[in-house]
Amino acid sequence: MFVLIAKSAMMGTLRHDLFERCLFHKDFSYAFAQTQCTSIIKNHAESLIALDMIDELQIYLDLMKTVPLLQRFSSEYTSFLQPSSDGARLATGSLIPGHGVQSSLHLLIDDVHATEESSVSHEVGLRGFVDATVVIRGRHKQPTIQAKRGGQPSSHALDHPKILVPIELKTGHNQNAQHAHMAQLALYTVMLRARYGSEDASRMGASGSGVLLYLNDQAQQAVHISPSHGEIKSLINQRNVVASEIRRSVKVRGVDIVNDGNRSQRYALFEARRHCGLCFEKI
């Protein structure tokens, strides 16, 4: 897609693509990253030129700075890199802390289900692209909503064959988990559960939690997000609000003056004007 955005955001997009390609091919080696970086830069050539980012070599070098972080990610959280000598870590994966009071997760990615998966859920009226959907084995205790509320994981958690976990990759500078990102990931979990079913003992299912991965050229941070029922309900409620407003805005107006009675119920502008100053929607 032909996109014109800020330079930093452009670099984030490039890092995003690199991570997805490496993860999809399960190859985080330098050699593979070099070929992919060249390809990615070519794909975004128009945008880069439009942003006056014409120094291809510099972009290439900036992009390759991410590769050590990607390798660190693969060594900590995946099992398909070169076999590690640390057998214990392979068995349990690395711990991903939960945000706030949420539970943590031992993540060990066994397989990659898809990247940039186009997920459409007609049941709940959502559509979007999940950055990465990874498969973890059921031998890891997967804290789910029920397990968290019940105080202990379900007894057959060790027998789960496959569990799909969405990963949302954020490549911005800010490494702190933001509520908007968590909300987005929570909705991805809803979409995956609607598509693949909730995790079950007998078959592959989607987890009720996801991983929020912050990755830039300097550091990486992973946060485990497991939304509760109330949070999901609030988000779906917010989705209903957006849908109602979009539907109302689509109605043809201006042809005939009709008092629809709802004109006065527009949202007030956000109080912090600085957010509006940062808004991309300059119209």
Binding site: I5, A6, L51, E123, L126, Q146, D200, K233, V242, R247
Partner: protein, 516 residues
């Protein structure tokens, strides 16, 4: 092409791409609904038709001028020849300020007779008060106003009392004098005469023996509007019972009339009354063999019916239908068809209205749980909203919903609040603020599939704060589910509510950026 042009073209394209969500529905009412409007009038009283005499058609009119805001009711009974069935033509007469009168026909109804077996329907207990009525004293006292069930049966009762009194006193004129009823000769139901009756004294029973017509002013009975508000349901319910229970009685009645020459309903002789009493006795014996209450229990979901006396009776009425049909009520097989289906529909519709309006504050509603079920794929049911009521006691919004189908979108107007919903969905907590209107499509989803979202689960309770483990469900309400929203747009509303709409309308392709 400038940016504005691009934006404008995109704008127009999105308007064209509106997937029919703003399509307006068109009201298309059938003629039958016209005959049975939602609000029943007092003119829906059905009376026992007298025995027909010759081929002359006579009319009997009961005039109601109960309240100035209410429509006057005129019940006209046409006496048919012997070989045809007597049919009561029920008409509604709407009088407006200009004195104009509209007439609206509700349809042909079968004559009825009172059921003296069922104590709830027993109207003879009001005989004494009926006498009071006939003596032209103030008609409605305080105790009778409170009595909703007995109120409406007084009319046929007093009429019958009137017959019996006349029967005892034999001459018709004498009886009317004894009853101190104002006499008037009206040979037709002209508008002027009706207008005259509007301003007539409270109790006004007018007889014309030559024409076999009787005119009763019901205004004295229904004096206050509060009583009148209770009338339509009880009237209909009662008449429904009476209609069903008196069919065999009428058979015997007509059998008797075949032997009676020049039978006049005013001049009921002893034989006729004996026949009627015999028929009633037979009817009671039949009902003893087939107690009606045992027939009323059926597959109605008791959980969905609030405990209301009126509703209970209504359900009995509806459910009693098949059994009564099964009984050989029509010995001659020549009764005109009564539109019982329409009656059933109307009764059921009103029952749902009671569900919605009278018992919105039913606090203990537990969504059925399939606890043993393993979490599976998402379960959802697609509904369309028929009505919305709010209950401030529990801070909840009650949606009357109906299973969605294509026909609903095309033909029904959900703003008219006349579509019968399949059940109710209670929205509590944050769901209370869901913006929905009648006609909107909603999904009720159970994310784990453990909870039942089908119509069998009604009433469905949605909440966001689990007060107990029973309430900790994963039921979701999705409004406009056909409008697919991206999680990115939803998450951005945390910062700015307008932004999601702006992005959807004008796009976020980056062309709006200053860098472009």
């Amino acid at each position: 092409m400038s940016h504005k042009d691009i934006l404008r073209s995109r704008h127009s394209q999105r308007e064209d791409a509106d997937p029919g969500l703003t399509q307006d529905c068109v009201i298309q009412w059938m003629d039958d609904d016209d005959r049975f409007p939602d609000k029943m009038q007092t003119s829906d009283l059905l009376f026992q038709s007298p025995i027909p005499d010759n081929h002359h058609e006579h009319e009997e009119t009961w005039k109601s001028n109960a309240h100035e805001n209410l429509d006057s009711a005129v019940v006209t009974r046409h006496l048919q020849p012997l070989h045809t069935q007597p049919i009561v033509h029920v008409e509604n007469q709407t009088s407006c300020l200009h004195g104009q009168i509209k007439r609206r026909r509700y349809g042909n109804h079968r004559p009825i007779m009172r059921n003296e077996e069922d104590p709830l329907l027993d109207s003879t207990r009001d005989c004494g008060e009926a006498n009071v009525i006939m003596e032209n004293t103030p008609v409605v006292d305080a105790s009778r106003k409170k009595n909703d069930s007995g109120l409406l049966f007084d009319l046929p009762t007093c009429w019958k009392e009137h017959f019996q009194t006349r029967n005892v006193d034999t001459p018709a004129e004498n009886s009317t004098n004894a009853l101190d009823t104002s006499m008037a000769h009206d040979t037709d139901t002209s508008l002027s005469q009706e207008c005259h009756n509007v301003s007539s004294p409270p109790l006004n029973i007018q007889h014309d023996t030559a024409q076999n017509s009787c005119r009763v002013d019901l205004g004295t009975i229904f004096q206050n509007s509060q009583t009148l508000s209770n009338i339509p349901m009880a009237v209909y319910e009662e008449n429904y019972h009476l209609q069903r229970s008196s069919l065999d009685v009428l058979d015997l009645n007509h059998n008797e009339t075949a032997t009676t020459v020049e039978f006049d309903f005013i001049n009921l002789n002893d034989d006729d009354m004996a026949a009627v009493e015999e028929a009633i006795r037979l009817r009671q014996a039949t009902q003893d063999l087939n107690p009606p209450h045992s027939l009323t229990q059926s597959n109605i979901d008791k959980e969905n019916i609030p405990f209301s006396a009126t509703t209970e009776t209504l359900s009995k009425t509806v459910m009693g239908k098949p059994a009564l049909i099964g009984t050989p009520t029509d010995a001659f097989g020549d009764f005109p068809d009564i539109d019982f289906d329409m009656l059933d529909q109307l009764v059921a519709k009103r029952q749902v209205n009671i569900l919605t309006l009278q018992n919105p504050d039913q606090p203990n509603i537990v969504t059925p749980v399939n606890a043993s079920k393993e979490p599976e794929f998402i379960q959802f049911s697609r509904y369309i909203i028929c009505s919305i009521t709010e209950n401030t006691n529990f801070y909840e919004k009650i949606l009357g919903v109906k299973i969605w189908s294509n026909i609903n979108d095309e033909f029904n107007d959900f703003s008219s609040n006349l579509i019968r919903p399949d059940g109710n969905v209670h929205l509590r907590g944050e769901w209370y603020h869901a913006k929905c209107e009648p006609g909107d499509v909603i999904h009720i989803c159970s994310l784990s599939g453990r909870y039942d979202t089908s119509p069998t689960a009604f009433p469905i309770m949605l909440n966001t704060q689990a007060s107990s483990s029973l309430d900790d469900n994963d039921l979701l309400l999705v409004v406009h589910p056909d409008l697919l929203v991206t999680p990115t747009a939803i998450s951005e509303t945390i910062h700015c509510n307008r932004r999601a709409v702006l992005m959807s309308r004008l796009g976020s392709g980056g062309l709006s950026s200053t860098f472009a």
